[in-house]
């Protein structure tokens, strides 16, 4: 029942904060956000899942009971975590707490509503990662959008209404496609399915339960569902060319919201891709050029996202576009369907959540002090804010994939995993090209740092720019510490991740000894 | 000697079309009201004619109701027209467009 407690405590905290007066809302929310964080820590110590939840593995903290009937389907309350979802749950609680701390400075109006909505987003995100019944999961999936819409539309920048509207319409349309995709599968499964539990859907598909639907062959249904689901999730990830809501939303959202947006919201897309496309419908990859196409899509995301980041002048836009680039690696790793490919992709989700959270937070701290984010407007900030600048530099190097920081571990695992996959013709070429992203990312981040942080101090303000507030520095330091800790010892979470992704890989492993050793494709 | 049914129907249709024509081409609200009356009476003719043909009184009862209804409608209509006149100094229906889109 820990998961129910986790969700309940988060929602209850949100309600409490809504009712609190503005003057204490921030501190109250920060304090209350330690409840889900603490609950996650407790769960961590009792985490005993093995295998993949959707492939018959043991699910930790599972609870499952009938809820109500919908047509011929029994809808259930079914929650639980495995090695893929639990790191993301932990990521959510950590990032939300830190984001709340970093909101103290910039948020100065309608505070109780802001913090209440932040906690509501957290609750909905947690629900997405723990929900195992499709109906339940979908409710949470959509529920994320509502508080997020208000967070952007009320506390955002000058174009907040445009950004918020774009965000909600774009992602909602995508949800529609995804919904159609899932129901395509559900109807094609017909009588073999008694519930809408993801576990049951996955098992039914894997057992070949897909029948004809509307005169179409099951294989066609599979491909159609795969495409619909991919399109639905691709917007969330986001994958080029469905990415344009992201820079707008990030730039307009207040920095703490960007932290959650980049850190966790994007992971919903990749998480769902992993759960649906690459777990339920992984057969589709083996057909024709499908895997190559996906690999290409990932490659384009990596390079194109990085090129766009190179052209930006706004620090937040730079980080936003580089998120697109980083998420491309996740697509590549997932497509490879090798042990380190999928595992590395999952690790990269967590790692990118921490690093992009760190970067957005640091940009926010600079913005609070300088009230500008434009690269050309300031220089030599390191002189006035040495510790923030130092952490920003460290975070930027983390983004560049510096070894002993988590970004490197995620990326190198993805590269190792995707280099030798036999699913993709010319996988080494794809991988090598995608790796060029690490050069471009170094280019724009180093350039941005050189212009803003270094050189003689220049910025016209009518007040002194001093050190950042303690709670901001502490939040940044905690994130940096996590990034380094995971970079030095990825096995801390990678063991659990690998355990959960292994069934996806083993399903088709065969061939020579070396490829088994490498956990190689099919 | 019964008049053939067709004559009633043609008369009814003719009256209806005259009413419709009035609504479509005139702009004076009072003429509108009269045109509506014409259309209602076209229906009355139909009702009475069919009542005669079927040999029961249901149609005629309906016609009586309709006449009452028409009277009420005229009361409301003229009220509207008075307000129209007060607000726009005219009873041209093309002037009263302040609430469109």
């Amino acid at each position: 029942m820990l998961i129910e407690f986790l969700l309940g405590i988060t929602v209850a905290s949100a309600l409490l904060v809504f009712m609190a007066p503005d003057c204490i809302a921030g501190k109250l929310a920060a304090g209350l956000s330690f409840l889900p964080l603490g609950t996650t820590a407790v769960m961590w110590s009792g985490f005993d899942a093995s295998g993949n939840a959707l492939r018959g593995g043991d699910i930790a903290f599972e609870s499952r009971f009938e809820w109500f009937d919908l047509g011929s389907y029994a809808l259930q309350w079914h929650v639980g975590v495995d090695g893929v979802s639990f790191p993301l749950v932990a990521l959510t609680t950590v990032l939300t707490t830190l984001a709340i701390f970093s909101s103290w400075t910039p948020i100065d109006e309608r505070q109780s509503q802001f913090y209440g909505l932040m906690l509501l987003v957290e609750a909905a995100l947690l629900g997405v990662f723990v929900g195992l019944d499709f109906f339940l999961w979908f409710v949470f999936w959509e529920a994320v959008l509502i508080p997020m819409y208000f967070l952007i539309a009320i506390w955002g920048g000058p174009r907040r209404e445009y950004a918020a509207m774009k965000f909600i319409i774009y992602t909602n349309l995508a949800s529609l496609l995804m919904f159609v995709g899932v129901f395509l599968l559900v109807f094609a499964l017909g009588d073999t399915l008694a519930t809408l539990s993801l576990v049951d859907i996955s098992a039914a598909i894997q057992n070949g339960g897909l029948g004809e639907l509307g005169g179409f062959d099951p294989e066609v249904i599979k491909v159609a569902a795969f495409v619909l689901l991919f399109l639905g999730f691709a917007v969330k990830v986001p994958v080029v060319p469905f990415h344009t809501w992201l820079p707008d939303a990030h730039v307009e959202a207040p920095s703490p919201v960007s932290v959650v947006l980049a850190g966790v919201l994007l992971k919903m897309g990749t998480y769902a891709l992993l759960r649906f496309n690459f777990t339920m419908l992984d057969d589709v990859l083996t057909n024709g050029w499908n895997a190559e196409i996906l690999m290409f899509v990932g490659l384009v995301s990596v390079i194109y996202g990085a090129m766009l980041a190179l052209a930006q002048r706004d620090l937040k836009r730079i980080v936003a576009y580089s998120s697109i680039s980083s998420m491309g690696y996740v697509i590549i790793g997932l497509t490879a369907l090798t042990a380190h490919g999928v595992g590395g992709a999952t690790f990269q989700m967590v790692s990118h959540g921490l690093i992009s959270g760190l970067m957005f937070m640091a940009v926010g701290v600079f913005y609070n002090a300088t009230h500008t984010r434009m690269v050309g407007d300031m220089s030599g900030l390191a002189d006035r804010m040495p510790w923030t600048a130092g952490i920003f530099v460290a975070g930027a190097f983390g983004y560049m994939g510096l070894p002993l920081m988590s970004g490197f571990a995620g990326e190198v695992l993805v590269f190792i995993g995707s280099f030798h996959t036999s699913l993709v013709e010319g996988a080494p070429i794809f991988t090598a090209l995608a790796m060029f992203g690490i050069v471009i990312v170094a280019g724009y981040l180093l350039w941005a740092m050189q212009r803003t942080l270094f050189g003689p101090f220049e910025l016209e303000t009518d007040y002194e720019i001093g050190r950042a507030p303690l709670q901001d520095l502490a939040s940044l330091a905690v994130l940096l510490g996590l990034v380094i800790a995971l970079g030095v010892n990825p096995d801390f979470i990678y063991g659990a991740i690998q355990d959960a992704v292994e069934p996806l890989v083993r399903a088709g492993t065969g061939g020579d000894a070396l490829s088994v050793l490498l956990g190689g494709g099919r | 000697m019964a008049v053939a049914m067709e004559y009633y129907l043609v008369l009814s249709a003719a009256v209806f079309c005259i009413g419709l024509f009035g609504i479509l081409v005139r702009s004076n609200a009072l003429v509108f009201l009269m045109s509506v009356e014409l259309m209602l009476n076209a229906a009355n003719i139909n009702l009475v004619a069919f009542s005669l043909a079927h040999g029961n009184l249901t149609g005629q009862v309906f016609a009586l109701f309709l006449i009452g209804l028409a009277a009420a409608e005229v009361a409301v209509g003229i009220g509207i027209i008075l307000v129209l006149n007060r607000n726009f100094d005219d009873i041209d229906v093309r002037d009263a467009v302040t609430m469109r889109w």
Partner: protein, 681 residues
């Protein structure tokens, strides 16, 4: 007695602790954390020397797995581990790195503390992290770990080159250094990943290592994955060349050498560390580390040799016209690392390592000497403003002279022996059956003259003649903490050649070539497997059987004589041109040639163009495309619905007549439809 090897991890961990102490507590400590760094590197030096003594005493190479970085699950997926490998090569390198680092720390007391710099904790933290990364890189037991610390070395160079971040130039130079080496590392990372995919391991040594596996495959046993339809031999060459990308970047070989001269923007002790023992040395060390792999591919070796020889020559030409002391030294570094690459590519494993060793000593010496001069000159580096410092700072002069003669390759200084051996080995194999190497050899010979010339020019301009400025007339004195490292290195620069007196090996006997014997001593046993997989001897065999390198007969003495004569020619030319009390700037007479050389053959220009003239416009176009077309589509979808609604609501005219018309029309249409569908007509 404890097994000293169990202490080996501490060699790198000491400086890591010093990093932490300096960063967080440095501001509260005397000397800004320098003492912690000195103690740590001193400890590392002692431990490294102990390792050397232990290995010399007959202990085998030591290998230990430290911890699992990323574990595979039940044989699924490769396991990434950290481990340390201490064999003669890495032990030697550990000593070099910790020695230079120790001396640089001491020197920094004079260069940074005494000069009243701010931000000292950051400086010493950077030095500590730098030393840690390099030491960990040196004793890495696998390529992935090596790559990781290789990259960290790059980070540290970024931090230290950009130490004076409040000025624009250092920040820019730091960016360039990281970016250019990152470009090389990109290929290196592909290589690492590809080696994983090919062999399932990246261990350097032992029966399970990729080096051994590759050798076995080419010997007809065992198997490996190849990709892209390449054969075994070709794929091994590709792998070697990919890793070489990182080497070229870090060791500043043509065409990725451009970052190094800019890196002079950092504090001079950092330059000494970068050039002599750490960053730049890392590249060449890496080739030596996996020499057993390169020896399998004659193509890769040939390319290494050609790049090395060409770089040695080209960099030497650029050094000819530089006016700033540190710039001359920077280009000499590039040139000297070219020699090392030439040696390794030419089959001279021992020669390459030998030159790496002697170069570390005399280049550290030269940079520290230059640092001493720069202190004296109040941070003016232009040699034309100096002159006559000989009598005013004798310790610096004599030690600098020793380093210069070593660099110039004058008998009996250290550089003579090693450079001669480089040329000799290349010539032997070139005359054997690999004529390509002769091209590299020719470049190398030409570079000997140039090296001697610019070195002596530098010495004459700096120290001889009359003082050309007031500062040079009355330089600021330097203290013991500057002189002590200079003296230590000065002595070493004179005697280090004794490690391997290859030129006179016919006289003293092969067995007295200490370095050769030392590097040959790596007989592996136990978990590392049978045979001498890491020994110089084994590499020679591999070169012969796999790469087809045959050694021709040629007199070592004769070769030495040629090299010495050429060096003396260079010395004489420089002496002739720049002697006297007030030398003329002869190089200006070269006109257009000088301009090309001073602009470094426009290498910087085209690389900057690649970044700002190509990548940036492409990015801008991509951005336009993204904002205009892709986002345009998205916005257009929104706009389209808004516009459609705008148009559509126009039918709500507010005129009752229109509504009535629509109603009537609709009714008629409905009737028509029903009529047609119902067959009324």
């Amino acid at each position: 007695m404890v097994d000293v090897f169990t202490l080996a991890p501490a060699i790198a961990l000491f400086p890591l602790f010093a990093f932490g102490i300096a960063l967080f507590l440095g501001s509260k400590m005397p000397k800004g954390g320098a003492l912690a760094g000195i103690a740590a590197t001193g400890g590392s030096l002692v431990l490294s020397l102990w390792m050397v003594a232990e290995i010399a005493g007959g202990a085998g190479p030591y290998h230990e797995e430290l911890y699992t970085f990323v574990g595979g699950v039940e044989g699924e997926g490769v396991t990434l581990t950290f481990g340390l490998l201490i064999d003669p090569l890495s032990a030697l390198m550990l000593v070099i790195v910790s020695l230079i680092s120790f001396l640089v720390h001491v020197f920094s007391l004079g260069y940074m503390n005494d000069e009243g710099e701010t931000g000292l904790p950051r400086y010493y933290a950077g030095l500590g992290l730098f030393t840690f990364s390099m030491l960990a890189f040196v004793y890495s037991d696998n390529l992935l770990m090596a790559f990781m610390f290789f990259e960290l070395v790059g980070l540290c160079s970024y931090l230290l080159i950009g130490f004076w971040f409040r000025e624009r130039a250092p920040a820019s130079a730091a960016k360039k250094a990281f970016l250019v080496t990152r470009f090389g590392d990109y290929f290196f990372l592909i290589g690492v990943v590809a080696i994983f995919a090919t062999f399932g391991t990246t261990a350097f040594a032992g029966e399970e290592s990729f080096v051994t596996a590759a050798e076995a495959v080419l010997g007809g046993e065992g198997e490996m994955n190849t990709f892209l339809g390449l054969g075994n031999q070709a794929w091994i060459t590709v792998l070697g060349l990919l890793v070489l990308g990182g080497v070229i970047g870090k060791s500043a070989q043509f065409p990725l050498h451009t970052w190094l001269p800019d890196a002079m923007e950092g504090p001079t002790p950092v330059s000494a560390l970068i050039h002599a023992a750490t960053m730049v040395a890392a590249g060449v060390y890496l080739v030596a580390r996996m020499y057993g792999f390169y020896a399998l591919s004659p193509t890769a070796l040939g390319i290494i040799a050609l790049i090395g020889g060409f770089t040695a020559f080209v960099a030497a030409t650029m050094a000819l016209v530089k006016q700033e002391l540190k710039q001359v030294l920077a280009y000499s570094t590039i040139s000297q690392y070219g020699y090392m690459m030439l040696a390794l590519g030419g089959g001279g494993y021992v020669a390459g390592v030998f030159h790496l060793t002697t170069h570390a000593v005399f280049k550290a010496l030269l940079f520290l000497g230059a640092g001493s001069v720069i202190i004296a000159m109040h941070h003016n580096e232009n040699m034309w403003d100096m002159g006559g410092l000989k009598d005013r700072m004798p310790v610096t002069y004599w030690t600098f002279l020793a380093g210069s003669l070593a660099l110039a390759g004058i008998f009996p200084f250290a550089g003579f022996w090693s450079k001669d051996e480089v040329l000799y080995e290349t010539l032997l194999h070139g005359l054997g059956d690999s004529p390509l190497l002769l091209v590299g050899f020719a470049f190398g010979l030409l570079a000997v003259i140039l090296t001697a010339f610019y070195t002596i020019r530098m010495v004459l301009l700096t120290f001889h003649g009359d003082p050309r400025t007031d500062v040079a007339e009355d330089p600021e004195p330097v203290r013991w903490n500057v002189k002590f490292p200079l003296v230590v290195l000065g002595v070493l620069a004179v005697v280090a050649g004794a490690l391997n007196l290859g030129t006179i090996k016919d006289v003293i006997g092969e067995e007295n070539l200490f370095l050769h014997e030392w590097l040959d001593g790596a007989t592996l046993d136990g978990e590392l497997g049978e045979g001498g997989a890491l020994s110089a001897h084994h590499y020679e065999e591999l070169l012969e059987t796999q790469a087809g390198y045959e050694a021709a007969e040629f007199s070592a003495l004769a070769n030495g004589a040629i090299a010495l004569v050429l060096a003396l020619v260079g010395v004489a030319a420089a002496w002739y041109l720049y002697r006297g009390t007030d030398p003329e700037p002869h190089m200006t007479k070269l006109g257009g040639v000088r301009r090309v050389l001073a602009h470094n053959y426009y290498q910087d220009e085209y690389q900057v163009w690649l970044a700002t003239g190509l990548a940036l416009p492409v990015a801008r176009v991509a951005n336009k495309f993204d904002q205009g077309i892709i986002d345009g589509f998205v916005d257009a979808a929104g706009t389209a619905s808004v516009v459609a609604g705008e148009r559509f609501r126009r039918i709500q005219t507010g005129v009752v007549t229109n509504y009535a018309a629509l109603l009537a029309l609709g009714l008629v249409l409905l009737l028509l439809v029903f009529g047609l569908a119902g067959g009324w007509f």
